[in-house]
Amino acid sequence: MSDTSPDATGRQLPATPHELIYPEPPRKTLGALLGSQKIAPWLFLSPMLAFGAIFFILPLIYAFYISLTRWDSLSPPRWVGLDHYKYVLTMDPVFWKTLWNTMYFAAGSIGIGVPLAMVLAHAFTRSRGQTLWRSIYWLPMITNVVAVAYIWKFVLDDRYGLLNRALGVLGLGAPGWLTSPTLALTSVVLIFVWMQLGHNMLLFSAGLANIDESCYEAARLDGANERQLFTEITIPLLMPTTLFVLITNFISGLSYFTLMLVLTDGNGGPLRSTTVTGLYMYQMAFSDLRMGRASAVAYVLFAVILVITLIQLRVFRRGGVEAH
């Protein structure tokens, strides 16, 4: 007979209780494994990671591949290498004009819209009924862009528009707000500023609410007047918000074209004066079926936006964002 006897699992048990037993560590259950610190965060992130991979990363990679091919979406893509990039950057008679229009639009909408939103947010923060004012300024943001375009077409009509009729009463001339090649893009900028004003004001209002009131009290004790409070306290302390507003506005401004599409019936006229790169890309892809070239334009625009955003970040960091 053996001095040991098997247990239920077939293992040989020691014959005497004095023998040491080193049991195997308990095996982790699946639940414990998934709940571990290593796995759990990834598990929670996985839906977003999968979403990002499917809807952002894969399309980006595919678009880059398409930009190296000639593809009309009807027949198989044909490899052309960097030909589209070469054409767009060196031969295309329209691309650089559209890029200029894009820069003008983005810079114009920021140059006018951001300071205006900041000043109005500051003014309404100190006024009564600020919620009402904010709501009123927010309304264009939630209005359908097609409705916005039609409203402004009526307002800016050369002959019968409200604006030119008002100018007529004052004995002034009637500019072709949307029909003059030199004015049309500026008009679109102004409409876009009007649309975005409420959104930017809301961001600035949130930024203003975060400024400690004691800063103003200290400055007042030092004899600062209202203008000095705004320029020396408000603006510097709003710098992080300003940076955020500038970057998001610039990125959206550089890729925006919906308003131009609706205002000009998709033509980007007159004389391509409102054809921004986004609209040009849209026409190229869905009207001309040049998916490859349109993808190349998208990548060039992406590079431009990336460079400008990096410059903005660097400039603003040097300009005091980090200091706050």
């Binding site: 027949s75 030119n164 006229g269």
Partner: protein
């Protein structure tokens, strides 16, 4: 027991047979999907015909899909990428070169091609033909002519529309007025903001002058020909001399604030609605002014086409022929009835003769079609892109930024470069 078993067996066999028969019937029914840019209201006569066809052909089910004109090409592309493309499309003829080159379209059977060639006008068959291959059955036909406001011309002392190139400017100048801010509030002549408002007008004027805008092989242009330069130069003069402007557009004609424009027959419904009882006494139609030669203009067409990947190609062509031939003693085919209700024209000769086209507005368009004066819009490669390029250079002349010679030379270079891409 035996009787019970027999009854049970009989019931089971009956149930199985019924189920199998049902399955077989469901499998035998073929679905034909038809996509057009016409909406449900416009399609009403055709939708009724679909019901009749389904009742006469129990093995066929017809599904209608509508997509707006502006989104139609994108809809085709998306549906093909997604593998859900319709079997039948109603497409604009200028889309055909790319769709055909990409293998999207199926060629009609030989007997159907013979029927099309014998049943449709030459111009419309040409509009559906690319490099000698016929790609479908022509449907809606649009022809360009000079539309003029009889009352405005009469008020300015002109009792007849312009016939030669020198006249429109003179007449238009006499009609044009400006408001207190210097904006033209009554234009003698108008263009419009769309690509077609400039390019189709230019093509029509080229044909009126006896010159095709493109070479016969559609690989080069005639934009720099003396006729072309003159046409664009004259257009520029209308702007530079304050007779028209970007403010004044084709919609103004319907509003009664513009005296002349070159436009297509499909404007009839809107003009009738706007002018009401005064339509006949106000709106006149005349051949496009030229240098005194034979009349000429441009027409474009839509066509029924079948997708090359369709599993029901034969059934689709049969359905299309049925829709385009008068049925059951009717005077018009189903397609003809729909176009007639829309106030549109058709290239189908039988339908055309049965339509009420004798009114003073429609008759000149019909005359241009039947006489052969109306030439098919050239189905060039990348038509939408080239037309947009051409419009941009014509606009440069309107704005006074470029001379007609420079603008048309630049347009020629760009368009020819694109045309050279075709295989």
């Amino acid at each position: 027991m035996t009787r019970i078993l027999s009854k049970s067996s009989f019931a089971a066999v009956l149930a199985c047979t019924t189920a199998l028969t049902g399955m077989a019937s469901a499998q035998d029914v073929k679905t034909i999907k038809i996509a057009t840019h016409y909406n449900d209201a416009q399609m009403a006569p055709l939708l009724k015909c679909f019901d009749v066809y389904e009742s006469e052909h129990p093995d066929i089910k017809i599904e209608f899909q509508q997509a707006s004109y502006g989104d139609f090409l994108q809809t085709i592309l998306t549906s093909r990428v997604g593998g859900t493309s319709p079997d039948i499309y109603n497409i604009y003829s200028i889309w055909v070169p790319q769709l055909a080159a990409a293998g999207t379209l199926a060629e009609p059977p030989a007997d159907l091609q013979d029927w099309i060639k014998s049943s449709y006008g030459e111009g419309t068959v040409g509009a559906a033909t690319i490099n000698g291959t016929l790609w479908g059955i022509p449907t809606e036909l649009s022809v360009y002519q000079l539309l003029y406001n009889k009352k405005m011309l009469a008020e300015a002392g002109f009792d007849a529309p312009p016939a030669t190139w020198d006249e429109p400017k003179k007449i238009a100048a006499a009609i044009t007025t400006t408001n207190d801010q210097g904006v033209i509030d009554r234009a003698g002549y108008v263009y419009g903001p769309s690509v077609a408002n400039a390019v189709h007008v230019y093509y029509s004027q080229m044909y009126a002058d006896g010159t095709a805008p493109y070479s016969d092989d559609l690989r080069s242009t005639n934009f720099t020909s003396p006729e072309s330069i003159q046409i664009v130069k004259r257009q520029g003069e209308l702007f530079s001399e304050g007779i028209t402007s970007n403010t004044n557009i084709t919609d103004d004609f319907a509003a009664g604030t513009a005296a002349m424009m070159i436009a297509a027959n499909w404007n009839k419904a809107e003009l009738q609605q706007n002018f009401g009882d005064a339509f006949d006494s106000t709106v006149g139609v005349a051949p496009i002014p030229n240098n005194g030669g034979p009349a000429g203009t441009m027409l474009y067409s839509f066509l029924w086409a079948v997708d090359s990947t369709s599993q029901v190609k034969d059934e689709s062509w049969k359905l299309l022929r049925w829709l385009n031939e008068a049925q059951g003693g009717a005077s018009l085919s189903c397609t003809g009835q729909m176009l007639s209700d829309l106030g549109a024209l058709t290239g189908n000769l039988a339908d055309l003769s049965a339509m009420d086209t004798g009114d003073s507005f429609t008759a000149p368009f019909i005359a241009a079609t039947e006489s052969g004066a109306a030439k098919s819009q050239p189905n060039i490669w990348q038509a939408a892109e080239n037309d947009r390029t051409l419009r941009s250079y014509i606009e440069q002349v309107w704005a006074g930024n470029m001379t007609a010679e420079d603008a048309m030379a630049a347009a020629d270079a760009e368009v020819t470069s694109v045309l050279s891409e075709q295989q």
